[in-house]
Symmetry: C2
Subunit: 143 residues, 2 copies
C-alpha cells in the first residue's frame, strides 16, 4: 500500500505534536506534559493490528520501537518504559512509548484514563521536540 494514501487519524492528530517521520512510522508527541509519551504510527493505510503489517514491516516497527525507546530513556532517565499497542478507541495502529517515573502521578498503574492531559506550553513543546529530533536525526520539515 503506498505511503501517500496514509492519513493520520484525526483523534491522534488532535492530541499530539509531530516529531517527524521514521522509515516506517510517523512519530508523535502526546500533548500531555505529565508524562514523556510518544506514539509510533506506521504509515500503512488501513492497518489496525500489528498483524496487519508484513513480517518485514513488523521487524522495522520493532527497530523503531527500540530507537525511540533508547532516545526517550536517554532524554528522561526514566525508571521504566511502557510500550503498548492497544487501539480499542482509535482503530489506526499506533504504538505508545511512555517514559515512566516512580514519581509520576499514575505510578505504578498504566497511564491510560488516569487523569486529564496537561498540555505543554508552546515553549516547552518546542524544546522537547527539538531534543527528540536531534537524538533521532530528524529535521523539522517532514510533514
Amino acid at each position: 500500500m503506498p505511503d501517500s494514501l496514509f492519513e493520520l487519524h484525526e483523534r491522534l492528530a488532535a492530541d499530539t505534536h509531530l516529531v517527524g517521520d521514521l522509515v516506517l512510522s510517523r512519530l508523535l508527541l502526546i500533548n500531555d506534559a505529565t508524562y514523556p509519551w510518544l506514539l509510533l504510527v506506521p504509515r500503512r493505510p488501513g492497518a489496525s493490528e500489528i498483524l496487519d503489517l508484513s513480517p518485514i514491516e513488523q521487524a522495522q516497527l520493532m527497530t523503531e520501537i527500540a530507537q525511540v525507546s533508547e532516545a526517550l530513556k536517554a532524554e528522561t532517565a526514566c525508571d521504566k518504559l511502557n510500550i503498548a499497542a492497544l487501539g480499542n478507541v482509535v482503530p489506526q495502529l499506533h504504538v505508545h512509548v511512555i517514559a515512566r517515573s516512580r514519581r509520576d502521578p499514575a505510578w505504578p498503574r498504566p497511564v491510560w484514563g488516569h487523569a486529564a492531559a496537561v498540555p505543554y506550553t508552546d515553549k516547552a513543546a518546542g524544546e522537547v521536540l527539538s531534543r527528540l529530533r536531534r537524538r533521532l536525526w530528524l529535521t523539522d520539515d517532514k510533514r
Copy 2:
C-alpha cells in the same frame, strides 16, 4: 546469557498456567477466565526492558508476538488485540497479548486493574491450553 539461568518471576508463575516454550520466550496463560490473556517472557536472565534484548532477540520477540497474536485471534475471533510491555510492578520483561471483545467487562479501557481475576476451572484451563498448544505446535512436556 545462557537460557539455563532463566527463572520465571514468582509473581508471574503464581498468576499463570504454562503453555510452552517458543524459541525465545516462555508462553504463559494468565489465570483469569475473563479475558483470553497470554504473556510472552523472553528467557533472558535480568532482562527488564525490550532494550535489554539484542537486536536479533528483539526481532525474534516481534516474530513471537505475531505468532501468538495470530493463534489467539484464530481461537477467539476477538475484536481487538492488546499488546503491551509495561512491567511497572513485576520487573522481569513480559509482553501481554490479550484478546479483547466489545462485550468484555473492561472494554474499551485497558484490562489492568479493572477487576479481580476469575480463575479458570481445571477443565477449562486444560482445554484452552490444549487448543493453544495445538495452534502453536507446542507439546506438554516443556517445563
